[in-house]
């Protein structure tokens, strides 16, 4: 495979794999309630995930070790265990939300109640995590996720006033019927949806799975700095479609089907089919990432053999954790908790857990003993520290705002 093809594949996979159920729901809700006046939060989140994904990819390429392995060594076992507990809990909630998302997408295609699909979906996700090669599962679902480009196409077909849309982005204002607490609650939700912890664990562990070396740092950077922002544009397109079609009618998104409605209005049945394919691919891919991330985190912290680059019997405890977390996630969905509500809670709690995820990465990427000549430069550090500050603010404000606004009501 030529280098150019590998880079192109990496970018396309990053675009298609960027959006998950959290981005779908958060972008749909925010677009239908606030238009594009919260686009700045999505853009901030995209920049933030680029900064930290680049760092974690560089750490993996230089050290050939996973994040939690280094976190335990660098910060000590107690801090590492706190980090692991919080991250695993949030990632498990996200895993459940993704499984629910897959089932909801299939329901949209079949009109059969989503709960009936959940056990089969869980089994399929686990089987793929267990048996399918890492590169195949990463690339296939990433490429299929490109079907979500239908939202960008729909946006163009809806023929919006582009000047007015751009004005909303660059000069955000609060809608007259909304308050600042709800506005900033959803800002944190969008930020948390873009910077979910599992993405970093998966990205860095994936680097070890694919045996990255320092020579792969450039490819990793291109994938992150080109692929993630383009993927983030899909989130903005979803919000814009909701703003144009749903907001004028007073329709507020609270289901996955409503997220697809603007696409259907613009492009008909073919567009709906593409949207459903995109939903399934995005949520399935994210389910694989979250399920594997829980396994990576636990195995790396406890020092067990982990990864799909060894035969399953050699990483039995890693695969056992993945299986148990799949069962737990399926169980959460089968309690009939609304997957959309689970999604909304998971992205807010992701925001709470962000400092625990990103502070260790910043410390390790700054540590010359681990990173050698590839240690953070001034720009990297400046950005990392700035975003750590933003993350701290979001983390502290998330729960009080959630309680005060009753989760955005």
């Amino acid at each position: 495979m030529s280098r150019l093809f590998a880079v192109a594949l990496g970018i396309l996979t990053a675009i298609g794999g960027f959006v998950d159920i959290g981005d779908l729901v958060a972008s749909g809700v925010v677009g239908s309630r606030f238009g594009l006046s919260l686009a700045w939060a999505t853009i901030l989140g995209i920049i933030g995930i680029c900064v930290f994904a680049e760092m974690s990819g560089r750490v993996a390429a230089v050290t050939s070790r996973g994040t939690f392995d280094l976190v335990r060594e660098r910060l000590g076992p107690r801090a590492g265990l706190l980090n692991l507990s919080a991250s695993a809990l949030v990632t498990l909630l996200t895993f459940a939300a993704e499984l629910g998302g897959i089932a909801l997408a299939i329901e949209l295609a079949t009109s059969v109640h989503y709960l009936l699909f959940v056990p089969t979906v869980g089994a399929a996700v686990w089987l793929i995590m267990w048996r399918v090669r890492f590169s195949v599962l990463e690339n296939v679902f990433g490429l299929l996720g490109l079907a979500l480009v239908v939202f960008a196409v729909a946006l163009w077909q809806l023929g919006p006033d582009w000047g007015a849309l751009l004005n909303e982005v660059v000069q955000p204002s609060l809608p007259s019927d909304e308050g600042y607490p709800v506005y900033f609650y959803y800002a944190i939700a969008l930020f948390g949806a873009a910077m979910t912890p599992y993405e970093v664990f998966f990205f860095s562990s994936g680097g070890v799975e694919e045996r990255w070396t320092p020579k792969d740092i450039l490819t990793s950077r291109i994938n992150v700095f080109v692929g993630f922002p383009l993927g983030g544009l899909l989130s903005l397109a979803i919000a814009a479609c909701a703003a144009i079609v749903l907001m004028p009618q007073g329709i507020v998104v609270d289901s996955l089907a409503q997220v697809a409605l603007p696409v259907v209005v613009a492009g008909g049945k073919l567009a709906l089919a593409a949207a459903i394919l995109g939903f399934v691919a995005a949520t399935f891919g994210a389910a694989l990432e979250t399920g594997l991330s829980i396994g990576y985190s636990a195995a790396q912290y406890f020092g067990w053999q982990w990864g799909k680059y060894v035969r399953p019997y050699k990483a039995a405890r890693f695969h056992a954790v993945v299986l148990l977390s799949t069962i737990a996630a399926v169980t959460i969905v089968l309690t009939t908790l609304d997957p959309i509500q689970v999604t909304e809670y998971s992205i807010v709690f992701s925001a709470v857990a962000l400092p625990l995820t990103y502070l260790p990465i910043l410390l390790i990427a700054n540590d010359g003993e681990y990173m050698g000549e590839h240690v953070n430069g001034r720009v990297g550090n400046a950005l990392g520290v700035t975003f750590l500050g933003i993350i701290m603010v979001a983390s502290i404000a998330a729960i009080p705002l959630m309680i005060y606004t009753k989760a955005g009501q």
């Binding site: 295609a109 009109s111 007073g250 329709i251 507020v252 609270d254 409605l261 209005v265 809670y345 709470v352």
Partner: protein
């Protein structure tokens, strides 16, 4: 210990956001009523938009059914949740409750008719039900605007 505290905190936050508080004043009750009306408008107009899109041949039957059924479930939940709120002891609150209950029942009846027609593939009945639901949605929107605190 810290991790356990964090879990307790998360569960408490989830419970607190799910609580329905009793209304202590007419203003508080009116606010809950207008929020309910706004959510009902959203549910009603989702089903209407889906049906109009289907009339243009742009919607699949499965997706239409999902959207209509979701709207029906949402309207049912809104009605029962609002009815569970104890109104303050005054005539204005009782009148408000009766007015909104009537509007919600109109919307629920229309969306049920729409769901039945959609399942039967009866385009004419769907069109009539969607028109009734649109009217109910507009009435709920007027109620929301009139009673905004």
């Amino acid at each position: 210990m810290r991790a356990r505290g964090r879990v307790v905190g998360i569960l408490a936050a989830m419970l607190l956001t799910a609580c329905v508080a009793p209304a202590l004043s007419y203003e508080g009750y009116a606010q809950q009523a207008t929020m309910t009306a706004a959510d009902a408008v959203s549910a009603a107009r989702t089903a209407v938009l889906a049906t109009r899109t289907d009339e243009q041949g742009r919607m699949t039957g499965a997706a239409l059914l999902v959207l209509v059924q979701e709207s029906e479930a949402a309207l049912g939940t809104l009605g029962s949740t609002f009815d569970s709120v104890q109104p303050p002891d005054d005539g204005r609150s009782d009148a408000l409750r009766r007015e909104l209950d009537g509007l919600l029942q109109d919307a629920q009846s229309a969306v049920q008719d729409l769901r039945i027609a959609a399942r039967r593939g009866d385009d004419a009945a769907m069109s009539l039900a969607a028109a009734a639901l649109a009217t109910a949605g507009d009435a709920l929107a007027d109620f929301e605007e009139l009673h905004q605190p």
